[in-house]
Amino acid sequence: MTETEPPPAERPGARDRAKVILGIDDSTEDLGLLNLILMGAGYSFVGASNPDDACNLVLRAPPRLILLDIQMPQANGFETCQRLRSMPEAQHIPIAFLTARKSRADVKRGLEVGGNDFIIKPFDRDKLLARVHHWTTRRV
């Protein structure tokens, strides 16, 4: 091992590949960047641009973590979170809101509807990966 290589426990590997992250966002630019960042860190990523697609994906293959945009045209993130939490398949999946706004009211509402975390946009790669690592190593 060279000095620049991370220790084995921190290297992305087969264990992390099994950790599927679902991103729900109407911005294709954000989904594209999330895909590259998370795949580059060894995770599997699937993106959905609307709540219907997201719920279908959860039914087919429940992810380890859901990253959920708040401001979307079809249904906002809070409504989508409530819908996901009503599904038995999603009740124990951590949900982190991705948002460009983090007002006190947003946080209160997010927690009320079953969200677990807030990640602020624009997202910083290292902070994003730290939150993803945190939530993919536990269930709620």
Binding site: G32, L33, L36, K121, P122
Partner: protein, 118 residues
């Protein structure tokens, strides 16, 4: 000339290392086209007097610009969204001009750093 305030290459440098060159170029070319669309739609909404529409496009640009390293444009987009929510048309007009200049400078710097290579 674009300044460091317009564009921070760090977020994309990490991705550049992880992707084959052709895939990275395609990714950025597609990004530049779609990102410019938000600004164009914001300008169109402004010309039509639709402040809510300007605010929606500005909201998207907070992340579409900032997550790709255009921090100044991202901050201006945040201020523009706030001005639109407050129905402050005069402030929104000025911020849209500033945002347009900052985004175009940022995207030019992005192109120069990552795409205009031999």
């Amino acid at each position: 000339m674009p300044s460091a305030a317009d564009f921070d290459e760090t977020p994309l440098s990490d991705i550049e290392k992880a992707l084959p060159r052709a895939d990275f170029v395609t990714f950025l070319e597609e990004y530049l086209v779609s990102a410019a669309g938000y600004l164009a739609r914001a300008s169109a909404c402004h010309a039509a007097g639709e402040l809510a529409g300007v605010g929606e496009e500005a909201h998207q640009l907070i992340s579409v610009a900032g997550s790709y390293g255009l921090q100044r444009a991202s901050e201006l987009a945040r201020q523009l969204e706030t001005a639109c929510r407050a129905q402050d048309a005069a402030r929104a007009a000025g911020l849209l001009r500033e945002l347009t200049a900052a985004a175009q400078a940022g995207w030019a710097a992005l192109r120069a750093r990552f795409l205009d290579q031999a």
